[in-house]
C-alpha cells in the first residue's frame, strides 16, 4: 500500500471510550498537492490530523510518509521528516519574537540539540538560517514585525506566525488546522495568497482543514468530506461539493 502518495493514511480507526471518532479512514496526499478536509464539527478532522502527526496514536491503521511507515514515530521525528503543522487553537512560544519563532523552527528541523556547537561558538544562527528566516518573513509579509514579541500580535498575524513556523525547515507537507478561524475576509484572502505563494515557491503539499468554503475552493485541488468519523465523499472540489449527500450532511439540505 505504498502508491505514489506523499502521505498515505489507511484504515485509521480511533475510539475515545465508546465514541468512534475515526472509522477506517483512508486518505492520501500526493507530493505538491493541496487537499482539503471538511466536515461538520465533531466529524473527526482534528483527530485525523493528530493521528497523522503523532499527537494521538490510532487504534488501527497505518500512516506512511514518503513511502515510510511513520505511525510509531514520536511527533518531533515526524516533524523533522518534513511535516509542518498549525493548530486550531493557536500555540505560540509566548515571550519570543516573531523572528525567533521562525529561527527555532528552522534550527530544530535540521536535527540535533547543538549543545556542543553552543559551547564552541555561542550557538548563533548561521547566515543560511537567517536568510531562510528572512525569506519566510518576506513571504508572509511579517518583516516589519520580526522583532515583536508574539504576545503583542493580533490574531491574524499570530496565525501567520504559526504558518511561518510550520513552513521552516522546508517541509514537504503542511497540515493546516482551520487557519482562517477568527480571521476576517481580508485576512483570509491574504492567507490564501500566501498559501498559494508558498506552494508555488517550494512545492509543498498541503492538507487543509477548513470551514471557510471560499478559501477551500480557492486553495485546494481535491477534497475529502468527513462525517461521523467516516469518509463521506472525496474527489474534485466541484464534484464533491455538488454531491447531494455532502450537501445534506455538511451544508444543510437547502444550501
Amino acid at each position: 500500500m505504498t502508491g505514489d502518495g506523499l502521505l498515505v493514511a489507511s484504515g485509521i480507526t480511533k475510539q475515545f471510550g465508546g465514541i468512534v471518532a475515526l472509522d477506517h479512514v483512508d486518505l492520501d496526499v500526493a507530493a505538491g498537492e493541496a487537499v482539503g478536509l471538511v466536515g461538520p464539527n465533531g466529524a473527526g478532522k482534528t483527530t485525523l490530523f493528530n493521528c497523522v502527526f503523532g499527537l494521538e496514536s490510532p487504534d488501527a491503521g497505518t500512516v506512511e510518509f514518503d513511502g515510510r511507515r511513520i505511525d510509531r514515530l514520536p511527533v518531533w521525528r515526524r516533524s523533522r521528516l518534513g511535516i509542518g503543522r498549525t493548530f486550531q487553537r493557536i500555540e505560540l512560544f509566548e515571550g519570543m519574537t516573531v523572528a525567533d519563532h521562525l529561527l527555532v523552527a528552522e534550527q530544530a528541523a535540521s536535527g540535533t540539540v547543538r549543545i556542543w556547537r553552543d559551547f564552541l561558538h555561542r550557538g548563533g544562527p548561521t547566515p543560511p538560517e537567517l536568510h531562510h528566516v528572512q525569506e519566510v518573513l518576506d513571504l508572509l509579509g511579517l518583516s516589519d514585525l520580526a522583532g515583536r514579541p508574539v504576545d503583542t500580535l493580533d490574531l491574524g498575524h499570530a496565525r501567520l506566525v504559526e504558518l511561518g513556523r510550520a513552513m521552516m525547515g522546508t517541509p514537504r507537507l503542511l497540515l493546516l488546522d482551520e487557519p482562517s478561524s477568527g480571521l476576517d475576509a481580508d485576512d483570509t484572502a491574504q492567507l490564501a495568497r500566501i498559501l498559494d505563494g508558498a506552494r508555488r515557491s517550494t512545492g509543498v503539499a498541503v492538507l487543509l482543514v477548513e470551514h471557510d468554503l471560499a478559501l477551500v475552493e480557492s486553495a485546494v485541488d481535491r477534497l475529502y468530506v468527513l462525517n461521523f468519523g467516516k469518509v463521506l465523499a472525496s474527489g474534485g472540489v466541484d464534484e464533491v461539493l455538488g454531491d447531494p449527500d455532502v450537501r445534506r450532511a455538511y451544508l444543510g439540505s437547502t444550501a
Partner: protein, 691 residues
C-alpha cells in the same frame, strides 16, 4: 497472622495521621488549585500550641480544642486570604514556592511566639499514651493508638456527612469541579473555598496534635517527613479522591511498619521505610491524568496570563535582532548593527542595562575581598560563591525549563561526598574530584530524570522531593558516600608548589569555578539550546511539532543542572573542610529553591546574589542570638509573601524598574540623532519606538 497483626497494628496510628494529611492536601488542592506543602508546618504549629498550653496548665481537652478548632483554622484562613487565593491560577512554580517558604518559616515564627520549645514530652489527647487499654487478639492497643484511630474515624464520618448531606458540602463539590461556573450559579466560591481551607487546616492541626506524642520532643523536621507521607497518600488518591487518599494514607502507615517488622534491622529495612513514599510516587504519579495534575482549575478557569508566564524564568539574551527594532519580550537593549535596510534580520543581540551594574558591583566585591575584608567575612563571601554555583543549577533547570527540582541539595551533597571520597581514598586532586563529583551527580541526575521527567510541574517537584528524602536515608548514610552523621573530610586543593589552602587563594579559585559554571549556563541559555528551552516553556506541544525532542532536551538539562549542583557542593565541602549529610538534606533543597526564586531565576546575576544572600542568612542564623535567628525566619516568610506579587524575582523586578526609568529618560531626550538607541522599555511598543 498474629505476627502480621503485631506488625500492622502499630502502623495504624501512623496510617491514620498520614490519611488525615492526605485528605487535607487533596481537599485544598481541589478547592483552590494549590498543593499546600505548608501543611506540615501547620501541623507543627498546632502541635506546638497544644503542648505549650498543656505545659501551661491547661486541661488537655481545652488545649486540644484551642489548638485544633481555633488555631488550626485561623492559620489556614490567613494563608488562604493573604497568599494562596491570589495565586490560584499561577504557574506550578509560583504556587509551590510560597508553600515551601512557609513550610520552613512558619514553625520558626510559631516558636518565636511561644518563646521556647516545650520541655515536657507531648501528651496524648485522652488517656495515657503508653498505657495499654485493650487487646486486639494478642496485640496490645495503647491510649495513643486508640485516640488516633478513634479521632480519624470521627473525622471520616464527619466528612461523609458533610459532603453527602449538607448544602455546603454540595457547594464544595461544585467548587472543586469548577469555581468559575459555581460563581456564575450564584454561589460565593471564595466563601466555599475558605471553608475548604478551614476544614483541611483542622485536619492538619488534628494530625499534628495526634502525632506529637509519638516523639519525645517537638521538632519541625518530624512534621515535614509526615508531610511527605501525606503527599504519597494524596498521590494514591490521584489528587482528587478523598476516600482513596484516606485509604492510601492508612495503607502507607501500615505498610511501613510491616516492612520494618519483617525485614531484618539494618540499612535495608531502615532505608526501605523512608523510600516507600518515593516508590509510591513513581508508581502512582503516571497513573493520575497529567492534565488534572497540572492544574485542577485549568479546564474551567482562565489560564495564566501570557505575561505572567513569560516574566518567570530565564530570559535569553540571544534573540534575533532586526535593524528596525530590537528583539526580546521585555526590556533588552540591542546593539546597533550597521548595514541592511530597515526591518531586515541582521544578527543576534544584546545586553541588559543591569549587566554593567552587576559587573561593577562584582569587581568591587572581589577587589575588596582580596584587599581589606576580614577573614570571617571572606569565609562568608566564599560560601556565597559556592552556593552561587548551586543556585546556577537552579537558574539552568527551573529558570530555563520551568521544571521544579526539590533535590538539588542531594546532587550537591553527592558531588561533595564523591569529591571527598575520591580525594581521600584514591588520592585524586580535589579539583579533579570536583569535576568527578559533578559528573557523578550528572549520572545520578539522569537516573532520576529518566523515570520522572515524563512528569512536569507539580508531580515532578513531588517526585524529586521524595527522591531527596530517599537519598538522605539510603544513600548518604553509607560509609562510601556521606558516612552518616560523622560526615567526611575534604582537603583544599593544591597544585604542586601552589597551594589554595589559605583563604584568599581559595576564594580566587572559587571565583574561577563560579566563572566557568556561569559561562556554561550562559552559553546554554543564550545559544540554540536556550532558544529551544524558551520555546518549550512557551508551548511544549508546539516545540514538539517543530521537531524539538522535548524529553531528551529535558533529561540533558536536568543532568547538566545536577552536575553544576555537584560541583557547587564539592566546592563548598572543600571550603569547609568537612561535609555531612545534614549540610545537604532535603529541606535544604526546598530552602535553596525558595531563595533563588525570590531573588530571581531569570539571570546568572540572580544565582550570584542568591548565593551571597543565602550565606549571609546562614551567618545571621548561626551567629546572632537565637532570638534574632527567628527574625531571619520571619523575614524569609515575608519575602515569600512578597514573592506572589513579583514572581519574576527581586532582581528582574528591579531591573524592570531601572529600564522603565531609562526608557523615560530616553523619551525625553528623543531625537538626539543617530546615537539614540532604538531600545525596548517595559511596556513600550518596540516597533512604534524603533521604526
Amino acid at each position: 497472622m498474629t505476627q502480621f497483626l503485631d506488625y500492622a497494628v502499630p502502623g495504624v496510628p501512623f496510617g491514620c495521621v498520614f490519611a488525615l494529611m492526605a485528605v487535607g492536601l487533596v481537599l485544598t488542592y481541589k478547592a483552590s488549585g494549590v498543593f499546600n506543602l505548608a501543611f506540615g508546618a501547620q501541623a507543627f504549629v498546632s502541635a506546638l500550641a497544644y503542648v505549650s498550653l498543656v505545659q501551661g496548665g491547661w486541661p488537655r481537652w481545652a488545649a486540644t480544642v484551642i489548638a485544633v478548632l481555633v488555631i488550626g483554622p485561623v492559620v489556614g484562613v490567613l494563608l488562604d486570604r493573604l497568599l494562596f487565593r491570589r495565586i490560584r491560577t499561577a504557574s506550578p512554580l509560583v504556587k509551590l514556592v510560597p508553600s515551601l517558604g512557609l513550610l520552613v518559616a512558619l514553625p520558626q515564627v510559631a516558636l518565636i511566639i511561644t518563646g521556647s520549645t516545650p520541655t515536657i514530652p507531648p501528651p496524648a489527647i485522652v488517656g495515657n499514651a503508653q498505657t495499654v487499654y485493650l487487646h486486639l487478639g494478642s496485640v496490645p492497643l495503647s491510649g495513643l493508638e486508640l485516640s488516633i484511630s478513634a479521632s480519624t474515624v470521627v473525622v471520616a464520618a464527619v466528612l461523609v456527612v458533610l459532603f453527602r448531606f449538607t448544602p455546603v458540602g454540595l457547594e464544595m463539590r461544585a467548587v472543586v469541579e469548577s469555581p468559575r461556573m459555581t460563581e456564575l450559579a450564584g454561589v460565593n466560591a471564595g466563601r466555599v473555598s475558605a471553608f475548604a481551607w478551614i476544614l483541611s487546616s483542622v485536619m492538619a492541626a488534628l494530625a499534628g496534635v495526634l502525632l506529637a506524642p509519638l516523639y519525645s520532643q517537638l521538632d519541625p523536621q518530624n512534621f515535614t517527613v509526615l508531610l511527605v507521607w501525606g503527599v504519597a497518600g494524596a498521590v494514591i488518591g490521584r489528587f482528587s479522591s478523598l476516600p482513596l487518599a484516606l485509604v492510601g494514607g492508612l495503607a502507607l502507615g501500615i505498610a511501613q511498619e510491616v516492612i520494618a517488622g519483617y525485614l531484618p534491622a539494618g540499612v535495608i529495612a531502615n532505608g526501605l521505610r523512608p523510600s516507600l513514599p518515593f516508590v509510591v510516587l513513581l508508581v502512582f504519579l503516571p497513573l493520575a491524568r497529567q492534565r488534572q495534575l497540572d492544574d485542577p482549575l485549568s479546564g474551567c478557569d482562565p489560564p495564566t496570563s501570557a505575561l505572567e508566564r513569560t516574566t518567570v524564568g530565564y530570559r535569553s539574551a540571544s534573540t534575533v535582532a532586526t535593524s528596525g527594532g530590537a528583539g526580546h519580550a521585555v526590556g533588552l537593549w540591542h546593539e546597533r548593527l550597521e548595514g541592511g535596510s530597515p526591518g531586515r534580520v541582521t544578527g543576534v543581540l544584546t545586553r541588559r542595562p543591569t549587566t554593567t551594574f552587576a559587573w561593577a558591583v562584582g569587581v568591587v566585591a572581589v577587589v575588596s575581598a582580596i584587599t581589606w575584608v576580614p577573614a570571617d567575612w571572606l569565609l562568608t563571601m566564599n560560601q556565597g560563591v559556592a552556593f552561587a554555583v548551586i543556585f546556577l543549577s537552579l537558574v539552568l533547570l527551573t529558570g530555563m525549563t520551568g521544571q521544579i527540582s526539590l533535590c538539588q541539595a542531594t546532587f550537591a551533597g553527592l558531588g561533595g561526598f564523591m569529591a571527598g571520597q575520591l580525594a581521600n581514598n584514591f588520592g585524586l586532586p580535589i579539583v579533579l574530584g570536583m569535576v568527578a563529583g559533578g559528573l557523578l551527580a550528572a549520572g545520578l541526575g539522569v537516573v532520576v530524570a529518566l523515570p520522572t521527567l515524563r512528569l512536569a510541574g507539580l508531580p515532578l517537584a513531588l517526585a524529586t522531593l521524595a527522591f531527596a528524602l530517599l537519598a538522605d536515608n539510603i544513600l548518604f548514610p553509607n560509609s562510601w558516600v556521606g558516612n552518616g552523621a560523622g560526615g567526611i573530610t575534604l582537603p583544599r586543593p593544591s597544585a604542586g608548589p601552589v597551594s589554595f589552602a589559605a583563604a584568599k587563594p581559595f576564594f580566587l579559585l572559587s571565583l574561577v569555578v563560579l566563572a566557568v559554571c556561569a559561562g556554561i549556563v550562559k552559553l546554554v541559555g543564550d545559544g540554540t539550546m536556550g532558544r529551544y528551552l524558551s520555546a518549550v516553556r512557551g508551548s511544549e506541544l508546539a516545540a514538539n511539532s517543530v521537531g524539538i525532542d522535548v524529553y531528551r532536551l529535558r533529561v540533558l538539562v536536568f543532568a547538566l543542572s545536577a552536575a553544576l549542583a555537584g560541583v557547587g557542593g564539592a566546592l563548598f565541602g572543600s571550603l569547609e573542610g568537612s561535609l555531612s549529610a545534614t549540610d545537604f538534606n532535603y529541606q535544604i533543597s526546598a530552602v535553596l529553591l525558595v531563595v533563588v526564586a525570590i531573588v530571581g531565576l531569570g539571570s546568572i546575576a540572580g544565582a550570584v546574589v542568591a548565593g551571597v544572600v543565602y550565606a549571609t542568612l546562614q551567618v545571621a542564623v548561626t551567629s546572632l542570638p537565637s532570638r534574632f535567628a527567628g527574625l531571619v525566619a520571619v523575614l524569609f516568610g515575608l519575602a515569600t509573601l512578597s514573592y506572589t506579587r513579583h514572581p519574576e524575582g527581586f532582581l528582574d523586578y528591579l531591573s524592570g524598574r531601572v529600564q522603565v526609568a531609562l526608557a523615560g529618560r530616553r523619551d525625553r531626550h528623543a531625537g538626539d540623532g543617530p546615537g539614540a538607541e532604538p531600545g525596548v522599555g517595559v511596556g513600550v511598543d518596540p516597533v512604534a519606538e524603533g521604526a
